[in-house]
């Protein structure tokens, strides 16, 4: 009953005109970002973060959250119509969604995707409202060793699930920890790796790094491609309301995807991308007609789209209750909350209830807005897809430049962003993933503090991480995850194939 009381309070906050406006802006921008290939929610949140410093913190978080779950809605549009995922979590939707479009069923695919996302998003928010407060209570019992072990688990799982080589992802995580610890040490107030530069005393800024690594680098990669005009599937998109047969085939995948996505979203390192892949695999396995998957099975669209949306709600749980981001987007939101002076953690709910409950309530409202936006505005999104990239990329670069400069009116931060843009470009060329670097960079100072506090508590004994039950359980999982790829690395390519 107390949860309902809190939710009413949250709705009272969420329906304030300024919060409603920011919610609408967030979901609209999120949908747009999801529709446009090459610009994901990470880049969009990075670009807009500096603009939120002039806005109230609650409204800013509502908008940034709206961008994240809005992008999940928008990503399916390009997947279905153009066979290009608008963002990573919609990759799976291209498999069956585009085939449905080719069969003249683009409307049904888009419709079930929007309705499935709405149902899953709503269920995910319900889960968030009921699970987060008790988890925050449990988290009060966590000490530095537990936090350290959870952060290590998060980094390990993310590197395990990141695309490509796990060794490379772990290297990026180490680089992130080092970058995150540049600046003044919090305990001894001693500069670390600043090389005498005053600009680095406060550390490397999160915003220039992520804008460079994800925004600028993506533009550079696209510029060098000899792009042809994207063929938007030229079909009249009609019949957006799914019929009875579509619902019959989709309702269970949507419900399964919602539950699966929500719990995978909670896991450190998990998130929308993993959820969508797992959901596709589950639906194919459970289907009576698995041979239809890949040829336009509606369950292949409904399940993954539901999973990626409920995962966004699940991802907020470790962030808001433990102060631990489970993926790169949450890492940026963590950075934002700290900039606003509202560090997330077990005390966030009691210290800033308007932020916590207001954000949850706004997610209910945001899901309704997204359903309204996505169906009638399909025609508009199709037109936007046809904006030529030669016009789009200068605008993206300009927003990056303004965003980086506006932080502290300092051109050095712009220079830093361009440096990280070049670095990100080279990283993508050599297949190094940026997400572990960002997560590790945000967690770096927290890791340092919790490790030093743990060792101080234990008098220098590392056994503290293996004698406390939660730490022992978590580190056991970490060791298993780390051993598996090392064994795989030493197999010959023939062994790997067999």
């Amino acid at each position: 009953m107390e949860v309902f009381h809190h939710l009413l309070f949250g709705f009272h906050v969420a329906i304030q005109p300024v919060n409603l406006l920011f919610c609408f802006m967030g979901v609209l921008i999120g949908t747009l970002v999801g529709v446009l290939p090459g610009l994901g929610p990470v880049a969009a949140i990075s670009l807009l973060l500096p603009a939120t410093f002039h806005a109230p913190p609650v409204a800013s978080i509502i908008m940034l959250s709206g961008i994240y779950y809005g992008a999940m809605y928008g990503g399916s549009t390009t997947s279905i119509l153009v066979n290009i995922p608008g963002e990573a979590a919609s990759v799976v939707t291209t498999i069956d969604g585009y085939q449905m479009a080719r069969q003249g069923r683009a409307g049904a695919a888009l419709g079930i995707s929007a309705f499935g996302s709405f149902i899953a998003g709503t269920l995910g928010v319900v889960g968030l409202a009921f699970l987060a407060p008790p988890l925050a209570g449990v988290a009060l019992k966590f000490g530095p060793p537990e936090y350290f072990s959870l952060m290590i688990l998060g980094l390990t799982v993310l590197t395990f699930l990141a695309g490509g080589s796990m060794v490379k992802s772990l290297m990026m995580a180490c680089v992130g920890v080092i970058i995150g610890n540049i600046g003044l040490d919090l305990v001894a107030a001693q500069p670390r790796f600043t090389f005498g530069l005053d600009i680095l005393l406060d550390g490397v800024g999160l915003v220039p790094l992520i804008m460079g690594l994800f925004g600028v680098s993506e533009v550079l990669l696209n510029i060098e491609e000899k792009l042809d005009k994207q063929a938007v599937f030229e079909t009249k998109v009609k019949g957006l309301l799914p019929n009875r047969k579509d619902w019959r085939e989709s309702i269970m995948p949507i419900l399964r995807g919602s539950v699966l996505g929500f719990f995978l979203g909670i896991l450190p390192g998990g998130g929308a991308v993993i959820s969508s892949f797992v959901s596709y695999g589950v639906e194919k396995r459970l289907s009576r007609h698995p041979e239809e998957f890949g040829k336009g099975a509606i369950a292949g669209v409904a399940g993954p789209e539901a999973a990626n949306n409920s995962a966004t709600a699940g991802a907020f749980i470790p962030l808001l209750t433990l102060g631990l981001p489970s993926n790169a987007v949450m890492a940026i939101l963590l950075g934002a909350l700290m900039i606003y002076g509202m560090p997330p953690g077990p005390n966030l709910i009691s210290a800033h209830p308007q932020l916590f409950w207001g954000t949850i309530a706004s997610m209910y409202i945001g899901n309704i807005m997204l359903l309204v936006l996505n169906l009638p505005l399909i025609g508009l999104w199709v037109k936007i897809l046809k904006i030529p990239y030669p016009i789009l990329f200068p605008l993206i670069l300009l927003f990056c430049l303004i965003g980086a400069y506006s932080l502290n009116a300092n051109v050095t931060e712009v220079g830093l962003m361009i440096f990280f843009g070049l670095l990100g470009y080279l990283m993508k060329k050599f297949k190094y993933d940026g997400a572990p670097l960002v997560l590790a960079m945000v967690l770096g100072p927290l890791l340092d503090n919790s490790l030093r506090q743990s060792l101080l508590l234990s008098g220098g004994s590392a056994m503290i991480f293996f004698t406390r039950p939660i730490c022992l359980a978590v580190f056991s999982v970490v060791i298993v995850i780390l051993i598996l790829p090392v064994l795989k690395l030493w197999k010959t390519p023939e062994d790997r194939i067999s």
Binding site: I178, Q190, E224, I391, F393, L395, S406, L489
Partner: protein, 134 residues
């Protein structure tokens, strides 16, 4: 290098970790992983792609040109100001991959610059450098 440099900041001890404690371990693990990656490359039977093959068939000159434009823009932003630098930058960027007429590009650059100035400088109160035209 990071691991060695961390020792200069002070490793401390296990009971009293120093400033360079975590960065030492991060650097050491990074070095070990680099070695692992390097050694594992010898076990690959397939001939790895050469450095040039990574850029084969791609227009890398445009990437270098855009990077140069961004660096010059950053250097001139304060002295020349946001309006002038942005107008010129946009004009040049629109012509990187587009094949629009000069007047179309000029008008587009002007209107985007003006629009950004209104939104960021006037509405959001971001203190953009005025420079020559300010």
């Amino acid at each position: 290098m990071t691991a060695l440099w961390s020792l200069k900041y002070g490793f401390g001890s296990l009971s009293e970790p120093g400033v360079g404690f975590i960065t030492f371990f991060a650097g050491a693990i990074l070095a070990l992983l680099s070695l692992l990656l390097f050694l594992s490359s010898f076990r690959e039977k397939e001939k790895p792609a050469s450095l040039l093959e990574l850029w084969a068939g791609l227009d890398v000159k445009k990437v270098l040109y855009v990077l140069l434009l961004l660096v010059v823009y950053t250097s001139l932003l304060r002295p020349a100001g946001f309006p002038l630098c942005t107008f010129i930058l946009l004009f040049l960027l629109f012509r990187v991959k587009g094949s629009y007429g000069i007047w179309t590009t000029l008008f587009a650059s002007f209107f985007v610059t003006a629009g950004c100035y209104l939104v960021f400088q006037v509405w959001l109160q971001v203190q953009l450098p005025g420079g020559i035209l300010g």
